[in-house]
């Protein structure tokens, strides 16, 4: 009989299909699952208690400083100097224009606003998640952002008397807007230059490979501050005396070169992740080397390393604070300067200023990180074949 058929040596032939059943009910209640994740093992229970203790101990003080005892509205530092006062947000509020624009002339600040809004719109257009398989306007957005926008921004910010925009010396630039300029130049230059360096490093022409490799290794082997000092003091030595390069563009060159070297290594990792079959598949169709790189290899390589690219951008964005040491008034430097203002000076001013700076950098970097995670998830879905 059927019961014997599964015995060793038995034969079997199915006569009816096994019934299709729903999966057994998950019998754990949510609190049961919660208990397991927080108190599952003695070590886990200990860590849960320890961290809850830390949170309970720190949170009240932090909340008191940041919210309950904070001074929200005040004409000057008087109210903030009262003993027991918390964060002096009034100070941040009053200094906000300075934090954003530095010493950029007040009646010209609309130019900065226009530049920033324009950049934000283009960036949103480029980064906006799009239905898979529909990407006709992304290359266009990229071209605008990487080629046209920098020129427009330059004209707007620096000025062009022909268009009725008075010149604004870069010595007056500062604040958040300057930090964004430094980061923006770094990103806009490092992306293409990084790709070129990465391709150069893999080139079959020894001269090109050697030049790219030495550049990358040299820049990566030197602290950013050194690169900034070198750009600041050595760049003028290499250029003819008649060419005056202004105080801002020197560190910009330094930041861009520094970021490019890191970007090159990230992109190289992506290039290595593209299977050999992709090169062969495109070569067999008659593509030139350049066509196959542009249309087949690079799009895949870059997508592979989006997390690495975003990581580099985050690092670059935070590193822009280093330009202060060659005399550039980036955002952190304006905070530094503002907290010394005698009108506001007080025991909580520095803490407030730096907290604000931390919030600013933290928010932006967190945003970049979330964006990259979102992209990764979409790409993982696509790999699995689900249309995102």
């Amino acid at each position: 009989m059927a019961s014997n058929s599964i015995a060793p040596g038995g034969t079997y032939l199915s006569h009816k299909n096994a019934p299709v059943l729903p999966p057994p009910k998950q019998k754990d209640a949510w609190w049961e699952r919660l208990r397991r994740s927080f108190f599952g093992t003695p070590l886990s229970a200990f860590l849960t208690l320890l961290s809850s203790g830390l949170i309970l101990w720190l949170t009240p003080d932090l909340l008191r400083f940041v919210l309950f005892d904070a001074v929200w509205n005040a004409p000057d530092g008087e109210a903030c100097r009262v003993p027991g006062a918390g964060a002096c947000w009034a100070f941040v509020w009053h200094k906000l224009p300075y934090f954003i624009f530095g010493s950029y002339p007040e009646h010209e600040r609309w130019r900065v606003v226009v530049t920033l809004v324009l950049g934000a719109l283009l960036l949103a257009w480029l980064l906006w998640p799009q239905k898979m398989g529909k990407h006709p306007d992304k290359p266009f957005a990229a071209a605008l952002l990487f080629l046209v926008y920098p020129l427009v921004a330059l004209v707007l910010l620096l000025g062009a008397p022909i268009f009725g925009l008075p010149m604004v010396d870069t010595d007056l630039w500062g604040g958040i807007f300057l930090s964004l300029v430094v980061a923006g130049v770094g990103i806009v230059v490092s992306m293409p230059l990084g790709i070129i360096l990465a391709l150069g490093r893999r080139s079959s022409l020894p001269v090109i490979a050697l030049a790219s490799t030495s550049f990358i290794e040299f820049v990566r082997g030197v602290p950013m501050i050194t690169v900034l000092f070198m750009a600041n003091f050595m760049l003028p030595l290499f250029l003819p005396e008649t060419v005056h390069i202004d105080r801002l563009s020197r560190p910009l060159v330094g930041v861009a070169l520094f970021a490019s070297a890191y970007m090159a290594e990230v992109v190289r990792g992506g290039l290595q992740a593209v299977p050999k079959g992709q090169y062969e598949g495109s070569a067999a169709l008659g593509f030139t080397t350049w066509q196959s790189l542009r249309l087949v290899i690079l799009p895949q390589a870059i997508v592979h390393v989006i997390p690495g690219i975003v990581n580099t951008f985050i690092g670059l964005f935070k590193d822009t604070t280093l330009v202060a040491i060659v005399g550039i008034f980036d955002f952190l430097r304006t905070v530094e300067t503002a907290r010394l203002d005698p009108v506001w000076a007080g025991p909580t001013i520095s803490a407030t200023g730096y907290l604000f700076a931390a919030l600013f950098y933290g928010t932006i970097c967190f945003g970049m990180s979330r964006y990259s995670i979102g992209i990764e998830r979409r790409l993982a879905e696509r790999k699995k074949g689900r249309v995102a």
Partner: protein, 266 residues
């Protein structure tokens, strides 16, 4: 042993069945081809002429150099000695010539090598648009025509990752055909496929063969070989040991190693 090509590989034309009259035109002409990887010689004095619309099946044990030989034809591999002429163009280091040859020679790989970031349709139109400079509309028209011929027009807007292996390989064939090639190279097109998908790919290839495409195909599908081959080329350790029409090859193999090989696989 290595009595070079006693079986007449040196003068392949004499091997052609008399019943068929090839155009004297040659699609591929390989003369005295030698290739080394470092000190290791992969290809040894290969001589083979392929007539226009002739179908050649390459077979032989693993590592015998079949892939290497077929990849020399569109210069995915370089060689150190000998000459290789494809569609009248002698392959040299000249990049322009190589690209010219690759435009006329389609290739289908064991692992498909579709572009995963592009849809099926884009996979098929990319080269015609970029290399042949066709308009997007014309390229799409051609692509849809060939996707219909490989019987998957309804998958045009999916991505390669969403298709089965057999479907992907059929797309790969369509992609190559969209370039309107004169010669098609196949390197074990069915050996990465699950058994139930092999036939759907072979069917397409049989159809292609019937339409008169010049084909060089590495495969272990002996039934298919018998069906379409004009000549079967047997290789072992980098040498061509025997070239014969399928009936002779299967019923009356002459080289002892051919006999051994057939004994193992049939």
């Amino acid at each position: 042993m290595s009595s070079t090509n006693v079986h007449g590989a040196k003068s392949p034309n004499s091997q052609m069945p008399n019943s068929q009259n090839w155009d004297q035109e040659l699609a591929v002409s390989i003369r005295g081809l030698n290739k080394w990887y470092g000190a290791f010689q992969v290809l040894r004095d290969i001589n083979l002429d392929v007539g226009v619309s002739e179908k050649i099946i390459l077979c032989g044990p693993s590592g015998s150099g079949k892939s290497t030989l077929i990849r020399c034809v569109n210069r995915l591999e370089t060689f150190q000695a000998g000459t290789l002429t494809v569609d009248g163009i002698a392959l040299t280091d000249d990049l322009k010539r190589i690209e010219e040859v690759r435009r006329e020679v389609g290739m289908v790989f064991q692992h498909f090598n579709l572009f995963p970031h592009l849809t099926i349709l884009e996979n098929c139109t990319l080269a015609p648009i970029q290399v042949r400079k066709l308009s997007k509309g014309r390229a799409t028209e051609i692509a849809m025509h060939f996707l219909e011929r490989v019987r998957i027009p309804e998958q045009a807007h999916k991505y390669p990752g969403q298709l089965s292996g057999g479907q992907q390989q059929r797309v790969a064939i369509a992609r190559a055909l969209c370039m309107n090639p004169k010669i098609m190279l196949f390197d074990e097109p069915t050996s990465a496929l699950d058994p139930e998908m092999v036939q759907e790919v072979l069917d397409i290839m049989v159809q292609l063969a019937r339409e008169g495409m010049t084909m060089l195909c590495v495969t272990h599908e002996m039934g298919f070989a018998r069906q379409i081959a004009d000549r079967i080329v047997f290789m072992d350790s980098g040498e061509i040991l025997e070239i014969a029409p399928p009936r002779e090859f299967f019923t009356n193999p002459r080289h002892p190693r051919t006999k051994m090989f057939l004994g193992q696989i049939l």
